[in-house]
Structure formats: structure tokens, C-alpha cells
């Protein structure tokens, strides 16, 4: 158990740049440095604190009163510099506003709603897999990882069918935007004005089909719980968080199984392991690697003092491979217990779309397992350099039936 106190020692300064090229290309040695250097360390280059230990990350995420989200969940402190977009009503807010807004979204994504979507998603997964097995090779990023969530999720939200490629650009803005204003940030923001305008228009009630999840959000506007603009903002949350993360998770899953064919065989012989296998992909790969909280008071974490108003980077990726919590953490094993992984976060800000993500990947892996004997790399994969997400830029694949 990690105890929070007021008095503590000064954090050790560590020369690690979590937004540098070397870290982003291979974060694992740096995770080890972070975990080893202390429960909490200081990163002088960015003037923030950081942790990669499982127990500390979890404790921080479960104390939102001390480690708030309202000052932004990126490196930038919204109380010191203006955010690039109006802050999210769920991701970047604190209770009590957060509680009400999150409840409105979680209601629209309830297990009951998702059960009703399952057959349609499964049929679309089989259709996509049928197309992919007919090809000699394809790009696991564009043709699989992005193609599937870009089809099923916006359909479920009730979004217009043209221009959906803007959702990839928007997700890139949201998640690269949590890093510093480096080249990756500038690159992600290069069409910001146009993409922002498209997304905002897509979130308006008149542009959403009346039977989708987006329209369901607007019932809270009719009830007087939200203004019209707040309704559009909550629909925007679907579009910010619902595509890139899932797309990267699918790419990471395909890569894991290409690299570990014996795990794919196991999955094929035990189809009940599908959901469990995805949890292991999440633990092992952590599609959303890094984000921030801001201290609301002077606090000591595991004996290390953090003053009020400071940014604290939580590396869920490092926590998900912390050897103090996981036996043999660098081994990909779909049979292991993954209880306690932090890939969807924890506490009140735990991913509100996590059951949607599970559904999408479950039906896709099931469709692949039914037809595909082996997933093989058809060329050299290339990681996507990204401030906070992990995934591939290019992932050449071949499917053997």
C-alpha cells in the first residue's frame, strides 16, 4: 500500500526524456530507470514529476482529489497556459461536474447497449476478415487497425459517413497534444483548424442519426441536464477517445500474435480466451502509455514530496510491466492473470469506453481466429513516433488460412 503524507524527501532528478526519439522508439529500458530511481522522480527537462511503479500509479489514479485532471491530463497546465481546445467535460474535469457528465456517457455505453451492437459488429468483423484473407498482404494499421473501428464505432455513434479520416487526425491531435510542443505536436496540429471544425460540426445533433449513441447523449439535453453545447462536447469525447486508441490496440494485438504464433494457436484452440487475450495485449502493449495529473496540495508519495500545483506523469506502460507486481512482465502470455493492469486507467477517470473497446476487439479476434491459422509479418513494421500512444505507423501483414 502506498501512503500519502505531507512531509517527504526531495525527488531524485532523473535524466530521462519521455518525449525524446530514443524513449519513444524503445521505452522499456527507460521505464526500468524510472521505476528503479524511486516511487516518484523529477524530470528536470520538463519540470514535472513522474512515476512508473504500479503501486504508485494506481494510488495516484485512485485519489483524484489530490491528483486532479481539471488542469489538463497532458504536460501543459491549463491554469498557466490556455489549452488548444475547450477542455473535455469528462477527461479534463473534476467532480462534481465530472461525475454527472461521466454518468451520462456511461449510460449510453452500458453493457445492455453493447450487447445489442454485438451481432452487427461481429458480422462486420467477419466481412473485413474475409476481405483481408483474400489479399496476399496488407497494412495492419490502415486496413485492419484503423479500418475496423472507423467503420463500426462511428456507425454506432450515428456519424455521417463522409470525412471519417478526420477522426484519425483528431485523435492524433488529442493524444499528441498531451505532450510538449515538440515536432510531433506541431505535426499533429498542422490542420487543426479544419479538423476541429469538421469534428464540431459532426457532433451537432442535426448531423447525427436519430438512433445512435450520439443522439442518446442529446436526451440528457432534453432532460435539462446539459446545455446543447455540453451535449455536443460529450459527443466530441466519443470522437476524441474512441478511434486511435482502439486502432492502435488492434495493431498491437496483430503484432503480438505474429511474433508469438504459439499464443495464436492457443487462442484458436481455446476460443473462450479471446477477451482474456485482449487484456494481455493491453497489459503488454499499453496503447495509451503516458498521461498526467496535477497536485492540488503539497503531498508526499511513498516518502517523496511533491508541492501543490505540479504536474505528475503517470506511466501506465511502465506500471503494466513492473516486476514488483507482475511475474515475468516482459513475457506475452494470454493465459496469465491480468487483473490489476492499468491500460484503461483506474478510479473515476478509468476509460469510459473500455467495454466498447473490448467488444470491438473481441469480435475482431474471434473472426480472425475462426479463419486464420497464422498471422505473419509481410515486411518490416515501423513504430509510430507519438508523444503518448504506442502503435504502429506501418505493419505489413499476411494471413494464412
Amino acid at each position: 500500500m502506498i501512503h500519502f503524507d505531507v512531509q517527504g524527501q526531495e525527488a531524485r532528478a532523473v535524466d530521462v526524456d519521455p518525449f525524446g526519439d530514443a524513449y519513444l522508439a524503445n521505452p522499456y529500458p527507460y521505464h526500468e530507470v524510472l521505476r528503479h530511481a524511486g516511487p516518484v522522480v523529477y524530470l528536470p527537462q520538463w519540470g514535472c514529476y513522474a512515476t512508473g511503479r504500479h503501486a504508485v500509479v494506481k494510488a495516484i489514479l485512485q485519489d483524484p482529489a489530490t491528483f486532479c485532471s481539471g488542469a489538463g491530463v497532458g504536460l501543459s497546465n491549463f491554469r498557466k497556459e490556455p489549452p488548444w481546445r475547450p477542455p473535455s467535460l469528462v477527461l479534463e474535469t473534476d467532480p462534481p461536474e465530472h461525475t454527472k457528465n461521466r454518468a451520462i456517457i456511461s449510460r449510453t455505453l452500458s453493457p445492455k447497449v453493447l450487447r445489442e451492437l454485438k451481432d452487427r459488429f461481429a458480422a462486420q468483423a467477419r466481412e473485413l476478415v474475409d476481405q483481408l484473407v483474400a489479399r496476399s498482404s496488407f497494412d495492419g494499421v490502415k486496413d485492419l487497425g484503423e479500418a475496423f473501428p472507423l467503420k463500426v464505432f462511428p456507425d454506432a455513434v450515428g456519424l455521417r459517413s463522409d470525412g471519417r479520416e478526420h477522426l484519425i487526425a483528431y485523435g492524433n491531435m488529442v493524444f499528441n497534444g498531451m505532450g510538449p510542443r515538440n515536432a510531433l505536436y506541431e505535426q499533429a496540429m498542422r490542420n487543426a483548424e479544419m479538423v476541429n471544425a469538421w469534428v464540431w460540426a459532426a457532433c451537432q445533433r442535426e448531423n447525427l442519426s436519430p438512433d445512435g449513441l450520439g443522439a442518446a447523449i442529446y436526451t440528457a439535453v432534453d432532460d435539462g441536464q446539459l446545455t446543447h453545447e455540453q451535449g455536443a462536447m460529450l459527443v466530441r469525447s466519443f470522437l476524441s477517445a474512441g478511434i486511435d486508441t482502439t486502432a492502435n490496440a488492434i495493431g498491437l494485438a496483430a503484432h503480438c500474435f505474429a511474433m508469438h504464433p504459439e499464443q495464436w494457436e492457443r487462442l484458436r484452440s481455446e476460443s473462450s480466451l479471446v477477451r482474456q487475450a485482449f487484456e494481455e495485449v493491453l497489459r503488454y502493449g499499453s496503447p495509451f502509455q503516458t498521461y498526467f495529473r496535477t497536485t492540488t496540495r503539497d503531498v508526499s508519495v511513498g516518502g517523496i514530496a511533491i508541492p501543490a500545483g505540479e504536474k505528475v506523469m503517470v506511466s501506465v506502460a511502465a506500471a503494466n510491466r513492473d516486476p514488483d507486481f507482475w511475474p515475468d512482465p516482459d513475457r506475452f502470455d494470454i493465459g496469465r492473470s491480468t487483473a490489476g493492469h492499468l491500460a484503461f486507467g483506474a478510479g473515476i477517470h478509468g476509460c469510459v469506453g473500455q467495454m466498447m473497446a473490448r467488444l470491438e476487439v473481441e469480435v475482431l479476434l474471434t473472426a480472425l481466429a475462426e479463419r486464420v491459422r497464422r498471422i505473419e509479418l509481410a515486411g518490416e513494421p515501423r513504430l509510430m513516433p507519438h508523444n503518448t500512444l504506442r502503435g504502429f505507423q506501418v505493419l505489413p501483414l499476411r494471413l494464412h488460412t
Binding site: S106, L109, A346
Partner: protein
């Protein structure tokens, strides 16, 4: 430590010494009680840690909040008046001897 009793759908009874401050769900998972799935890890998102509160100090349980109420409408086995999500129940000494019945299925 507080004693919590889980009775599975076949009537098999397990007594667990649960750590105060954790959730009734976490206590079940860490003691390997298989009738609790808890896929979302305690975020009140999945409704797979559904329990029926049977007996013991039932009046010491706080009422479900709005999110738990909503989520209980999504349980795999029908909701009853004594249905709760065990991830939302915090173990405290006054719950000693609480008896929970597990549904036949969670998904």
C-alpha cells in the same frame, strides 16, 4: 480484516477474510472466487461483479449511487431488489458476516 461470505450458484459457501478499505469485488478476486468476473476492474462499467445481498448486516450497506443503479439494469442475470455491484461495496468492520449470493452467470 472483515469476514465476507460468498455463496455460489450451486450453494457452495466460501468465507473470506477481506482487507478493510478494499472492495468486496477485490476480496473475491484475490481469493480466487470464480463467480465474480469484474472485467472492468472496479470502474462500474461492466456489471460482471453482480451479487445478491442475502443476509448479515445488510442494513449497514450504503444505497447504490446513480451509476450503480444504471449499471444494475445491465446485469446478465436478472436484477432483484437485493442486487448490488460488489465493486461498489467497500469492506468495513461493520460488514462482518455479510452473506452474498453469486448469480449463475455474469456475462
Amino acid at each position: 480484516m472483515t469476514k465476507i461470505i460468498y455463496v455460489d450458484a450451486s450453494g457452495c459457501r466460501r468465507e473470506v477474510q477481506a482487507r478493510d478499505g478494499t472492495s468486496v469485488m477485490q476480496a473475491a478476486v484475490s481469493h480466487g472466487i470464480s463467480g465474480i468476473v469484474a472485467e472492468c476492474g472496479g470502474s462500474a462499467m461492466c456489471a460482471t461483479c453482480h451479487v445478491y445481498v442475502e443476509s448479515g448486516p445488510v442494513d449497514r450497506l450504503p444505497a447504490p449511487n446513480a451509476v450503480e443503479h444504471e449499471m444494475l439494469d445491465s446485469t446478465a442475470e436478472p436484477r432483484q431488489p437485493n442486487s448490488r455491484l460488489s465493486c461498489q461495496l467497500v469492506v468495513r468492520p461493520e460488514l462482518d458476516g455479510l452473506v452474498l449470493r453469486l448469480p449463475q452467470r455474469q456475462t
